[in-house]
C-alpha cells in the first residue's frame, strides 16, 4: 500500500480547478479504481463517466498527466507516483461536470456521413460474396470503441475547435470503413473534401498515438482517404485515366 496524491479537475459555478486528494493504492489498481476510491471516500459528488472497466466501452476517457487515455486501462504501476497525478476532462469537448464532457457533437457529425450502400446482391437469395482478404483491410477500423480520445488529441478540434468544419479522426476511420468496404458503391470523396474537411488534417499522428485499440488511424485510414480525394480533385492525370476507363476508380 502506498499513498498517492491526485489532482482532479472539479467544476464549480464559476469554472473549475484542480483539487488535491490523497488515497492508498494497492497492487493491480488502475487510475479509474483510484478515482472511484476517492469518490467513495472523499468526494461523493465527483462526476466521472465509466461503464465496462475493461477498455471496451470508451466511457472513461480523460487526460492523465496531460495524456489522453482511458482511465480504466492506465495502470497505477505505470504512473510516476512521486509527484501528484493530474486528471483533467477531455479538453476538446465542453465540460458538463468534473471529468464528464459533452461528446454529442461527435454523434451529430457522424449522422452527416453517407451511409453504407451495397451493390446489388450477388446471389438470387439476396446474399453477397466477399473475399476475406478484402474485408481484412477494414476490420481494423471496426475495432473503434468511440472513446473519442483521437478527437480530443487532434489539434484541429482541441486547439482550434473546428468541430463543424472537420469531422476528426474518429469519423475518418468510420468513413474509411465504409469507403473501403468491398460491397460499398457510394462515393464519399466530395463529402470528405468539403463537409468532412479532410484537408485540415496535417498528419501529426497524435490520433494514432492515443488510440487504445491501436488502430493505425493516420496511415491506414486518413492518408488513404486523402489519396482518394487527391485522385478525384487534385490529380489531372488520374482524372484523365478515369475519364477513359469510365469506371468508378475505387472499385
Amino acid at each position: 500500500m502506498a499513498s498517492v496524491t491526485f489532482q482532479i479537475w472539479r467544476t464549480h459555478a464559476s469554472g473549475g480547478q484542480l483539487q488535491e486528494y490523497k488515497t492508498e493504492i494497492s497492487e493491480g489498481m488502475v487510475v479509474l479504481d483510484a478515482v472511484h476510491q476517492i469518490q467513495a471516500e472523499q468526494a461523493n459528488d465527483m462526476a466521472v463517466r465509466w461503464n465496462c472497466k475493461a477498455g471496451k466501452c470508451g466511457s472513461c476517457s480523460a487526460e492523465i498527466n496531460g495524456h489522453p487515455k482511458l482511465m480504466c486501462m492506465t495502470r497505477m504501476s505505470d504512473m510516476p507516483q512521486d509527484k501528484p497525478i493530474t486528471i483533467h476532462p477531455m479538453k476538446a469537448f465542453p465540460v458538463i461536470r468534473d471529468l464528464v464532457t459533452d461528446v454529442s457533437v461527435n454523434y451529430r457529425m457522424k449522422k452527416k456521413i453517407k451511409k453504407f450502400k451495397p451493390r446489388p446482391p450477388d446471389a438470387p437469395d439476396g446474399t453477397w460474396r466477399m473475399a476475406q482478404s478484402d474485408i481484412d483491410r477494414i476490420q481494423e477500423f471496426r475495432k473503434c470503441i468511440e472513446c473519442f480520445l483521437c478527437q480530443d488529441v487532434c489539434h484541429v478540434l482541441r486547439e482550434h475547435q473546428l468541430h463543424e468544419e472537420f469531422v476528426g479522426p474518429r469519423h475518418m476511420v468510420y468513413t474509411a470503413a465504409l469507403e473501403m468496404h468491398p460491397l460499398d458503391v457510394e462515393d464519399r470523396r466530395e463529402e470528405l473534401k468539403n463537409t468532412g474537411g479532410i484537408g485540415f488534417c496535417n498528419i501529426t499522428k497524435c490520433c494514432t498515438t492515443v488510440c487504445p485499440e491501436h488502430i493505425t488511424i493516420t496511415d491506414n485510414a486518413i492518408i488513404p482517404l486523402k489519396e482518394r480525394v487527391a485522385d478525384r480533385f487534385y490529380d489531372p492525370l488520374m482524372r484523365l485515366l478515369h475519364l477513359f476507363s469510365k469506371k468508378k476508380n475505387n472499385h
Binding site: G66, A131, D219, I223, P224, Y234
Partner: protein, 258 residues
C-alpha cells in the same frame, strides 16, 4: 486562453520535435552547401547521389557533356542544382515529413496535446499547403531517381585499371556505400503512402488482382516503417555524398575489397 507550449504533460515532450528540427535543419544546411560546391562529387566509378543523374557536368558520369554554353552565367552552375528539386520535393511533400516539420518547424502543434502559438488554422485546405497533394508527381520522379542510383551502384562495380585503361569487376567500400544508399532510398520510395495507394490502395477488391495485391502488401510492409526508412535514407544519402567527396579530395582512401 491557452498560451504557446501550455500543457499538462509532465514528460519531456519537447525533446522529439527538437531532435527532428536538428536532424532536418542539419541535412538542409549540408545538402545546400554540397549542392553549390559543384566539385569533388565524383571519384573513379563513384558519383555522389546529390549529383546523379549528372545531366550536364564535367565528370565522366555526365549524360550530355559539360555545362551548356547557353546557361546564364549570372545563375552560377552546379549539376546538383538541376536535379535536387525533385527528391527535395518528394521529401517536402512526404506524409511523414509533413507531420514532422509541421511540429518541429511550425509548432502546428509543437507536440501532441501541447498548445500552439497561433489561433488561426487553415491546414492543407488552401494555398500554399494544398500543393502538398502533388506528392504523387514527385513520387514518379523519385522512382526514376532510385533506378538511376541503382545503375550508379552497378557502375561502381567496374573499376578502370590506370595502367591498361581496361575496366574490370571489383568492389570497394564506396560500392557498398552507394548500393546501401540506393537500397535505403528504394525502401523509402516504395513504402511511400502515395505509392501504396497507386499500386492498389485505391481499390476495394484486391483479391481479384493477385499480383496487384502482392505489390500492395509489399508496399504496406515497407510503409509500416516509413519513418525509419525516411530517416535512414536521409542520413544514407548525406553520408554517400560525404564519402565520395572526401575520397575525391584525397582525405579518405577508398578501400578495395577485391
Amino acid at each position: 486562453m491557452n498560451h504557446f507550449g501550455q500543457t499538462a504533460r509532465k514528460d519531456l515532450w519537447w525533446v522529439r520535435p527538437l531532435l527532428v528540427f536538428i536532424g532536418l535543419f542539419s541535412f538542409i544546411v549540408y545538402a545546400t552547401w554540397a549542392a553549390f560546391q559543384g566539385e569533388h562529387y565524383a571519384v573513379g566509378p563513384y558519383i555522389s547521389p546529390f549529383y546523379s543523374p549528372e545531366i550536364f557536368g564535367n565528370s565522366p558520369h555526365s549524360w550530355f557533356g559539360p555545362k551548356p554554353s547557353w546557361w546564364p552565367t549570372v545563375l552560377g552552375f552546379s549539376p546538383a542544382l538541376l536535379i535536387l528539386w525533385a527528391p527535395g520535393g518528394m521529401r517536402f511533400t512526404c506524409y511523414y515529413y509533413r507531420g514532422a516539420y509541421y511540429k518541429s518547424f511550425w509548432a502546428d502543434p509543437p507536440a501532441c496535446a501541447v498548445s500552439e502559438p497561433r489561433k488561426t488554422y487553415r491546414g492543407e485546405n488552401s494555398l500554399p499547403l494544398i500543393l502538398q497533394n502533388a506528392h504523387r508527381y514527385f513520387l514518379y520522379l523519385a522512382i526514376l531517381f532510385v533506378i538511376v542510383l541503382f545503375y550508379d551502384a552497378w557502375k561502381a562495380l567496374w573499376f578502370t585499371d590506370p595502367t591498361t585503361g581496361q575496366e574490370h569487376f571489383g568492389m570497394g567500400v564506396g560500392t557498398i556505400v552507394l548500393t546501401l544508399n540506393a537500397t535505403l532510398l528504394g525502401g523509402y520510395t516504395f513504402g511511400c503512402h502515395s505509392f501504396r495507394h497507386l499500386v492498389g490502395g485505391f481499390k476495394d477488391q484486391l483479391s481479384k488482382s493477385p499480383v496487384q495485391r502482392k505489390v500492395y502488401t509489399c508496399a504496406s510492409c515497407l510503409n509500416k516503417r516509413h519513418m525509419n526508412w525516411a530517416w535512414c535514407s536521409l542520413f544514407g544519402v548525406a553520408f554517400a555524398d560525404i564519402y565520395v567527396r572526401l575520397c575525391s579530395m584525397g582525405i579518405w582512401t577508398d578501400w578495395r575489397i577485391f
